[in-house]
């Protein structure tokens, strides 16, 4: 019989908290993590707001030498991975060669890149920090986590913009199903709140300019939405083969029952017409999980709060589930609370979806007041809702036309 894969640990550091449980508490209560930017002078940005990790001191987690030689994005990955690893209790219950790491990032070490580029211009290329390359590269978070927890199995990184950590999870699940390893730390991290990071997205006209009201600026599906809000953080889960987890008595959060991955092959930033690519990803995920549209009890949407995404994702959901089922299925965007954590977003949202299944609570689209024309699904506006659901989907899309949907299932014991 085919192997099944479950989540046995979760870790999040982000704008609404430094642990997964603190995040979930704030998500359920709809407490926004969006504020005016402090990490860099926002004066010349059109969008001056972001979801920063508040009061983050890497020395609270890492020794000085490691802290000095890791980019902020890697530090977030390490913090989230440690939390997930500790919660899973898998240490000493698995051979180090049978646990792997797949951690994605959309950008990688952009803070480090900017800093050393300045050094090179001002003081010469022979003053570049010798650790520049191994600090900046977007696979180093996976490498560092491997070193940190002593995971000697497969170790790699996925780079698909805002879908990066969704692909990390999808591929990790398939690797475990194939028997390559029994467990994988999978997720993503991003630290894009820098001069060129925010400046670049501002130039794309992708970010909200609701600078006077940060907490309601991310308004997925609302008629007054005006772009996404950029955020930072890290999220990692421990994925484990079901029997392996049950045998050692692990606490199981939820099952990852399938995934669907597609490409729009259409445009570098705009979603395909009617969200055609995303719809196919959802269909493939349901097929992989062995479920029908009527089985889906909740969808955690990509829901970025951009004009194009939200309307097209709505259409995609209708295509994938069929109009009648789509109208009955609650859909919410937790980006209304966290902002958009780019390469970490998908992993964060898979964790929230797993918690929704475990606790029977659907997180809200907290800032939604006036649904846009054509955005006519049940978006769980305003406040969280109790609902005992069995199956759920989590959508992610990335620049380049990457689409990934993760299917999750409630775990109800042996």
């Amino acid at each position: 019989m085919a192997k099944r894969v479950v989540i046995t640990g979760s870790g999040i550091i982000g704008p609404v908290g430094k642990t997964a449980s603190e995040n979930w508490k704030n998500i359920v209560s709809g407490i926004s993590g969006i504020r005016t930017i402090t990490l860099v002078d926002p004066e010349n940005f059109t969008s001056k707001i972001a979801g920063e990790v508040k009061d983050f001191d890497p020395l609270d987690y890492l020794d000085r030498k490691v802290a000095k030689r890791t980019d902020r994005y890697t530090q977030f990955a390490m913090v989230a991975a440690r939390e997930a690893y500790a919660e899973s209790g898998i240490e000493n219950n698995i051979h180090p060669e049978r646990i792997g790491v797949i951690i994605g990032s959309g950008i990688g070490g952009i803070t480090t890149f900017e800093h050393e580029h300045k050094v090179a211009l001002e003081r010469g290329v022979n003053r570049i920090n010798p650790f520049f390359c191994p600090m900046m590269i977007s696979n180093i978070a996976a490498g560092r986590v491997g070193i940190d927890v002593g995971a000697k199995g497969l170790n790699l990184s996925t780079v698909t913009a805002c879908a990066s950590s969704g692909h990390a999870i999808a591929i990790a699940v398939d690797m475990i199903r194939l028997g390559r390893v029994e467990a994988i730390l999978a997720g993503g991290a991003e630290a894009p709140i820098t001069l060129t990071g925010v400046g670049g997205f501002c130039q794309l006209k992708a970010l909200s300019t609701r600078n006077d009201d940060p907490e309601t600026a991310s308004r997925p599906f609302d008629r007054d939405r005006d772009g996404f809000v950029i955020s930072e953080g890290g999220a990692v889960i421990v994925l484990e083969e079901l029997e392996h987890a049950e045998k050692r008595g692990a606490k199981i959060i939820a099952e990852v029952s399938g995934s669907g991955m597609t490409c729009d092959a259409f445009h570098i930033t705009a979603p395909a017409e009617d969200g055609e690519g995303s719809a196919r990803a959802m269909k493939l995920a349901m097929q992989d999980a062995g479920i029908k549209p009527e089985d889906v009890g909740y969808i955690n949407a990509h829901g970025t709060s951009t004009l194009l995404n939200d309307i097209n994702e709505t259409k995609a959901i209708k295509t994938a589930l069929g109009e009648e089922n789509a109208m009955k299925t609650p859909v919410s965007s937790t980006k209304s609370i966290t902002g958009h954590m780019l390469g970490a977003a998908s992993a964060v949202e898979v964790i929230f979806t797993a918690f929704a299944l475990r606790d029977g609570i659907l997180p809200p689209t907290a800032t939604l007041q006036n649904p846009d024309e054509g955005c006519d699904l049940d978006y769980v506006p305003g406040t969280a809702r109790k609902a005992d659901i069995k199956h759920a989907l989590s959508n992610s899309l990335g620049f380049g036309g990457h689409n990934v949907t993760i299917a999750l299932k409630k775990y109800s014991g042996k």
């Binding site: 490691v66 003053r127 010798p130």
Partner: protein, 79 residues
């Protein structure tokens, strides 16, 4: 601040070691756990702090804390 103290401070900052580990006899690789990139970064730290350039042949000879202090003293950088 003495030359020894300034050198010690840079080593603590770059390598994240404890002050008591930084004796004059301490070897950068075996005693202070510095790999070759660590040592190169350390040399750059001395260059920046003391305003000089240390060529590669000389740098490879600076294997202990004491040898660095001695080298800088010879360059009359101990004022």
């Amino acid at each position: 601040m003495s030359l020894e103290s300034r050198v010690t401070e840079i080593i603590i900052d770059k390598l994240g070691v404890k002050p008591e580990q930084v004796t004059m006899e301490a070897q950068f690789d075996t005693d202070l756990g510095a790999d070759s990139i660590d040592q190169y970064e350390l040399i750059m730290g001395f260059e920046d702090a003391f305003g000089l350039r240390i060529d590669e042949d000389e740098a490879t000879k600076l294997t202990t804390v004491g040898k660095v202090v001695e080298y800088l003293r010879e360059k009359n950088l101990d004022q």
